[in-house]
């Protein structure tokens, strides 16, 4: 469960988000939409604890959270890393990994099979297509068996088929595995199964109800 109570965030005295109140219950699928630069990513960074609110408080009961950030970072295009090296990073905490190597290896093989990228395990991530890279990111997020996954426009730059597969995967994670999903998207169609859809605009967050639509800008 996540609860935002009167949360505000300012950057260099410039208010970005003001007086937000939001509840996310366990197992819910939450969609977040809004124009570019409205503060969607700031909102999820506040939820994730990457940013600290300048006012208000955020209560989180989820112990295991995974974050899938936007694609095409420097690392995705230049890091000499294999698929299995990147996916296994999802299990990394602060302890040296050599102490639970065998257990981690079993989890790795399991998640590679489940996400359909077992045959790609030794490929370099720099050689993957957008859709394959997205599967790697999802596998990395899932390997730690999280109770909440936050996805920030993970479909950016993907072709139609890969995009459609990604949406199916996200829906099944929520329905079958009961994982709470917070999903930033520019497409209302992607959020058909969402329990709540929030529009971030004009420094505030409002829920879109009863089939209200939002046209991406």
């Amino acid at each position: 469960m996540i609860k935002l109570e009167n949360v505000s965030f300012s950057f260099k005295s410039e208010p970005i988000l003001q007086h937000l109140n939001l509840n996310v219950n366990d197992g819910e699928f939450i969609g977040i939409v809004g124009p570019n630069g409205a503060g969607k990513t700031t909102l999820i960074k506040l939820i994730l604890g990457i940013l600290k609110p300048t006012e208000g408080k955020i209560i989180k009961t989820d112990k295991s959270i995974s974050y899938v950030s936007q694609t095409t970072g420097i690392s995705d295009t230049s890091m000499p890393s294999t698929v299995q090296e990147i996916v296994s990073l999802g299990l990394t905490k602060n302890k040296p990994a050599i102490f639970n190597h065998k257990k981690n290896n079993e989890a790795l093989q399991g998640i590679l099979k489940e996400t359909g990228i077992l045959e790609l395990r030794n490929r370099l991530i720099t050689e993957l297509s957008g859709g394959q890279l997205q599967k790697v990111k999802i596998a990395k997020a899932l390997i730690s068996s999280p109770s909440l996954i936050v996805l920030d426009e993970p479909d950016a730059g993907m072709d139609e088929k890969s995009h459609s597969n990604l949406i199916k995967t996200i829906n099944s994670l929520n329905k079958e595995r009961k994982i709470t999903i917070i999903f930033i998207s520019h497409h209302m169609d992607d959020l058909i199964n969402a329990n709540h859809i929030y529009l971030v605009d004009n420094k505030s967050v409002t829920e879109l109800k009863g089939g209200e639509n939002y046209v991406s800008i």
Partner: protein
């Protein structure tokens, strides 16, 4: 060659630095901040100049200047993440400026030994410092290799997982600064930054995993360091400069055989 104690020490120090320089440098290369090594090398020179002018131990002043510089670079990188390279450029320019002005007041021959290094004139204190640094760097990179890779790959995702990203970055920066400051006297300030980039650049031609690339860069660096020292002994030329020329030749060889490696990898994947 090994009848001389100074050659044995040169080989030991060369081998130890040959292993740790690409280790600490690889992170900067992957983050596309390769010039960090250059900036630190130049500020280490300003530290040496301060030491020589003030009559202090140049190694100590060089270490202090490198540590201050890396903190400034990290501060600018955090505050202006979109302009991370700006911090490197600022520190590099300031380093050259301070070193340039202060050299007017120092003994030039003393200062020159730090430009190209004097690996054959290492005293016991420097040897012990290099051994101590080697142990710290190797332990850190072996024990925390996953955390380091996670931080290079995506800092925000790593933070959400609970990895202490700031601590990992800070430790890496400190180890990089210490390595460059210690290498200034032995390998040379103008040369150490090349040794950060060249072995990693050569290993990247193999197109292998993070672990294999890292291990290959250590082997490549070790070969170039030891070959460079050996050649410098027999040809009576500067060791630091020779090490770099060997590294460049290695890179050129790898670039030439790259098509063969790529062809072999394709055949293997088709089979």
């Amino acid at each position: 060659m090994f009848q001389y104690k100074f050659m044995i020490i040169a080989f030991i120090v060369g081998a130890l630095l040959g292993v740790i320089i690409p280790l600490v440098g690889s992170t900067a290369v992957y983050k596309r901040l390769s010039n960090t090594g250059d900036a630190l090398a130049h500020t280490s020179l300003s530290g040496v100049a301060i030491g020589l002018v003030a009559g202090l131990n140049p190694l100590i002043t060089s270490l202090i200047m490198c540590l201050i510089s890396i903190l400034i670079i990290e501060f600018i990188r955090k505050k202006f993440s979109k302009y991370a390279e700006m911090g490197v450029a600022v520190v590099l320019s300031a380093g050259i400026g301070v070193a340039g002005i202060l050299t007017s007041y120092t003994n030039v021959s003393n200062f020159d030994s730090y430009l190209f290094g004097s690996i054959l004139l290492i005293d016991d204190t420097e040897l012990y410092l290099v051994i101590g640094l080697f142990v710290c760097v190797v332990l850190f990179y072996v024990l925390f290799d996953k955390q380091i890779l996670a931080t290079i790959y995506n800092e925000e995702e790593a933070k959400v997982q609970g990895i202490k990203v700031n601590l990992i970055n800070f430790t890496q920066s400190i180890l990089l600064a210490l390595t460059i400051a210690l290498s200034a006297k032995t390998i040379g300030s103008l040369i150490v930054s090349s040794l950060i980039v060249l072995p990693v650049a050569t290993a990247l031609q193999l197109k292998q995993s993070y672990k294999i690339t890292m291990f290959s860069s250590l082997i490549i660096s070790l070969v170039s360091t030891l070959t460079g020292i050996t050649c410098s002994y027999y040809l009576d030329i500067k060791p630091g400069a020779t090490i770099i020329i060997v590294s460049v030749i290695q890179l050129l060889i790898f670039l030439c055989i790259k098509p063969i490696i790529t062809y072999a990898q394709k055949r293997k994947s088709l089979a």
